[in-house]
C-alpha cells in the first residue's frame, strides 16, 4: 500500500510534468496537448511507483517495459523520462526540432528509455505482446505496460492483439486505456462508438479494472491488483479528462492536436501555480 505522503509526492510530480508538457509544446509550436495532459497521472504512477526500471541502464534486461501506443502523448512520456533521469531536462526544449532526440512521436532509435517506436495508432499492443512473450520465453519476471488511447480502439489490429494476448495467457501484460472520450474529430462515441468497451475487453478474455485515471490511489490499487492476476492479461479502463489540469483545455476537442500559444501558456502556468 502507498502512504498519503507518497501520494502527495506523486501529485507534486504530476504538476511538475504538466508544466514541462505545456512549456515544451509551446516551444515546439505543435503537438498534442489534450491527450498528453490526460495521461499524466497514469504515466507518473508507472514510472515513479510501479515499474522497476533503471535510467542509468535503460536496457537492463529485467526492467519493466512501457509502450506508449497512443504515441501522440509523447510529451507526457518525454517529460517523465527526463524527470526520471533518462536524459537532460534541457532536451525538452528541442521537442519536434530538426536533429532532436525527441521526435514528434516516440522513436526508440534516438530517445533513451523509449522501448519501441509508436504513433501509428492501434499497433502498440501487438508490440507489447511480443515483449511479453519474449519475457516469458526468457523466464524473466518483468512486466509490460501499454497505454492506449480510446480512439485507437477503433483500429482492428487492437482486437487482433487483444485476442492473441488472452490466447497466450499474457499475465505479465497490463493494458491501460486513457479514456478521455475525445478524438480529433469529436467525441469518441459519436465518431465511432467503442462502447460497451468494458464488455468488449471482458469478452476477449481480459480481466478489467475501471478507475478514475486522475486518482493516484485508484490507479495504484489497480496496478497492484493487476499484478496478482494469473493466466490472463489485465486492462485498466482509466476514465480521464482531456486537457486535465488546465481549465480552458479540459474537455475541449479543439486542443487534441494543438499546442498552447504564448498567451495560453501564461494563463495555464498561472492556474498551475507558477508565478
Amino acid at each position: 500500500m502507498i502512504t498519503a505522503e507518497e501520494i502527495e509526492k506523486l501529485k507534486s510530480l504530476a504538476r511538475t510534468i504538466r508544466i514541462d508538457i505545456l512549456k515544451m509544446l509551446n516551444q515546439a509550436g505543435s503537438g498534442h496537448t489534450g491527450g498528453s495532459l490526460s495521461a499524466v497521472e497514469i504515466i507518473v504512477s508507472l514510472y515513479f511507483y510501479k515499474m522497476h526500471h533503471n535510467p542509468q541502464n535503460p536496457k537492463w534486461p529485467d526492467r519493466d517495459r512501457f509502450v506508449l501506443s497512443k504515441g501522440h502523448g509523447a510529451p507526457a512520456l518525454y517529460a517523465t523520462l527526463a524527470r526520471s533521469g533518462y536524459f537532460d531536462l534541457s532536451e525538452l526544449n528541442n521537442l519536434r526540432k530538426l536533429g532532436s532526440i525527441l521526435q514528434g512521436h516516440p522513436d526508440m532509435k534516438v530517445t533513451p528509455g523509449v522501448e519501441i517506436s509508436t504513433g501509428s495508432l492501434g499497433q502498440g499492443l501487438s508490440m507489447a505482446n511480443g515483449m511479453a512473450l519474449a519475457l516469458k520465453l526468457d523466464k524473466r519476471a518483468a512486466r509490460v505496460y501499454v497505454l492506449m488511447g480510446d480512439g485507437e480502439n477503433q483500429e482492428g489490429q487492437i482486437w487482433e492483439a487483444a485476442m492473441a494476448a488472452a490466447h497466450y495467457r499474457l499475465d505479465n501484460l497490463c493494458g491501460i486505456i486513457d479514456y478521455n472520450g475525445l478524438q480529433i474529430d469529436g467525441p469518441v462515441n459519436e465518431i465511432m462508438k467503442i462502447e460497451p468497451i468494458r464488455d468488449k475487453w471482458l469478452a476477449f478474455g481480459w480481466e478489467v479494472f475501471e478507475i478514475d485515471g486522475h486518482n493516484f490511489a485508484e490507479i495504484i490499487s489497480a496496478l497492484d491488483q493487476a499484478e496478482t492476476v494469473k493466466n490472463k492479461p489485465c486492462l485498466i479502463l482509466a476514465h480521464t479528462i482531456k486537457g486535465k489540469g488546465v481549465s480552458f483545455f479540459e474537455g475541449k476537442v479543439e486542443y487534441h492536436g494543438v499546442a498552447p500559444t504564448d498567451e495560453e501558456l501564461k494563463k495555464a502556468l498561472f492556474e498551475l501555480g507558477v508565478v
Binding site: 534486461p61 526508440m108 532509435k109 522501448e115 519501441i116 517506436s117 504513433g119 501509428s120 499497433q123 499492443l125 501487438s126 508490440m127 507489447a128 505482446n129 511480443g130 515483449m131 511479453a132 512473450l133 519474449a134 519475457l135 520465453l137 526468457d138 482492428g156 489490429q157 487482433e160 492483439a161 485476442m163 492473441a164 490466447h167 497466450y168
Partner: protein, 322 residues
C-alpha cells in the same frame, strides 16, 4: 551449376522450413511466427521441433508483424511467415513502422510469391511485393533462385541483424546450383558467360533465362546470365559491368515490371552506364486462375519472351550502328 538436362525440381518452401528447423538447434534465440499458414510456408517443420519457440498468430498478419517487432526489440531473432501478398501487402504499414523504421531483427520469409500461386487466382497471387518492400529504408530484399540458394540465404541472414524480406514460392523450382554454392548478400552471380547480351533474373525466372540463353546460342547469340537474387542492396558493380560488356540487358521476374527487379536494374544502369533494357515480367495487370505453367505462358513469363526481348535489343542496336 548443373547442366540443364540434369535439373530436378526441388521445393523452395521445404528448403526454408528444413533449414529453419536445423538452425533452431544452433540459435536458441530464433522465434518463429506464422499466420495460420505454417503447413504451406513450412514453418510447421520448426514448430514440430521447437513448439515453445513457435507462435501461431492466427489469421491476423498485422498483429503478427507487430508481435515480431516486440520480440525482436527484446533480443529475439524472429522469422515471420505467411503468403507474400499478406506479408507485404496486408501488413505493409506494420512492416514499415514496427520493423523497418526500428531496423529490428525480423526476417520476413513470404511464400507463394508471384503468379505461380496459380489456381487460387488474383486474390492470392503477388506481383507487387518486391516493389513495396524494397522502397522501405533498410529493408533487404532477396528472391532465391532455387532450393539450394534458399538454404544458403537463410543460413546467411540469420547472422545479419536487421530486417529482411525473402520470397519463397508455392511451386517447386529447378534445382540448378551445386551443393557448394555460397550466397553472398548484395552480390549477383554470373551463371553463364556471354558477350552479346545480358539476361538478369531472380527466383524462378533465372532458370527461364538459362533456357533462353541455350536457345540463343543455337542462333549464334552469346548471352550472359545473371542471378540477381539480392534485389536490395543491389550489386551496382556487376550491373555496370554487364551494361558495358554486352550490348543490352533483359530482366526477367515473376513480378510486375513496375517497381521490381527490372526497375531496380534500370535505376542503376540508367544513371551509371546507360544501355538498352527490356523488362520481362507481369505487365500492368492482375493475375487470374490457372495452373502455374499455363499462367507463366499466359502472362508472358517464358523463355520465348526473353529471347524476343533479346532480339529486339540487338536488332535496334544493329540499326543504330549502320
Amino acid at each position: 551449376m548443373k547442366g540443364e538436362k540434369n535439373w530436378k525440381l526441388s521445393g523452395i518452401r521445404e528448403a526454408y522450413g528444413e533449414t529453419l528447423a536445423e538452425l533452431g538447434e544452433v540459435y536458441p534465440d530464433i522465434v518463429v511466427l506464422d499466420a495460420d499458414l505454417s503447413g504451406s510456408t513450412k514453418t510447421s517443420l520448426f514448430a514440430k521441433k521447437f513448439p515453445d519457440r513457435f507462435f501461431n498468430m492466427g489469421v491476423a498478419e498485422q498483429n503478427m508483424m507487430g508481435t515480431a517487432a516486440g520480440l525482436a526489440a527484446s533480443g529475439k531473432t524472429v522469422f515471420a511467415s505467411t503468403f507474400a501478398i499478406f506479408a507485404s501487402g496486408r501488413a505493409w504499414e506494420q512492416v514499415r513502422y514496427n520493423i523497418a523504421y526500428n531496423h529490428l531483427n525480423v526476417k520476413i520469409v513470404a511464400s507463394h510469391g508471384g503468379i505461380t500461386v496459380g489456381e487460387d487466382g488474383g486474390s492470392h497471387q503477388c506481383a507487387e511485393d518486391i516493389a513495396i518492400m524494397r522502397v522501405l529504408p533498410g529493408m533487404r530484399v532477396i528472391v532465391p533462385m532455387d532450393a539450394q540458394e534458399m538454404r544458403e540465404v537463410i543460413k546467411t541472414v540469420v547472422k545479419i541483424p536487421g530486417p529482411f524480406y525473402i520470397r519463397s514460392s508455392r511451386v517447386k523450382f529447378p534445382l540448378i546450383l551445386d551443393q557448394d554454392y555460397k550466397f553472398e548478400l548484395g552480390k549477383g552471380k554470373i551463371l553463364r558467360e556471354g558477350k552479346d547480351i545480358t539476361l538478369i533474373g531472380c527466383g524462378l525466372m533465372v532458370s527461364q533465362c538459362l533456357e533462353a540463353a541455350e536457345i540463343l546460342e543455337t542462333e549464334g547469340i552469346s548471352a550472359q546470365v545473371v542471378n540477381l537474387s539480392t534485389i536490395k542492396p543491389i550489386d551496382e558493380e556487376l550491373l555496370i559491368e554487364c551494361a558495358s560488356n554486352t550490348r543490352g540487358i533483359v530482366t526477367a521476374e515473376e513480378h510486375s515490371i513496375i517497381g521490381g527487379l527490372g526497375s531496380a536494374v534500370a535505376e542503376v544502369v540508367s544513371e551509371k552506364s546507360p544501355t538498352l533494357i527490356r523488362r520481362i515480367g507481369v505487365e500492368d495487370r492482375f493475375g487470374i486462375s490457372g495452373s502455374a505453367s499455363a499462367l507463366l505462358e499466359y502472362l508472358g513469363l517464358k523463355p520465348g519472351k526473353i529471347i524476343e526481348a533479346a532480339h529486339q535489343i540487338l536488332d535496334s542496336k544493329k540499326i543504330k550502328n549502320r
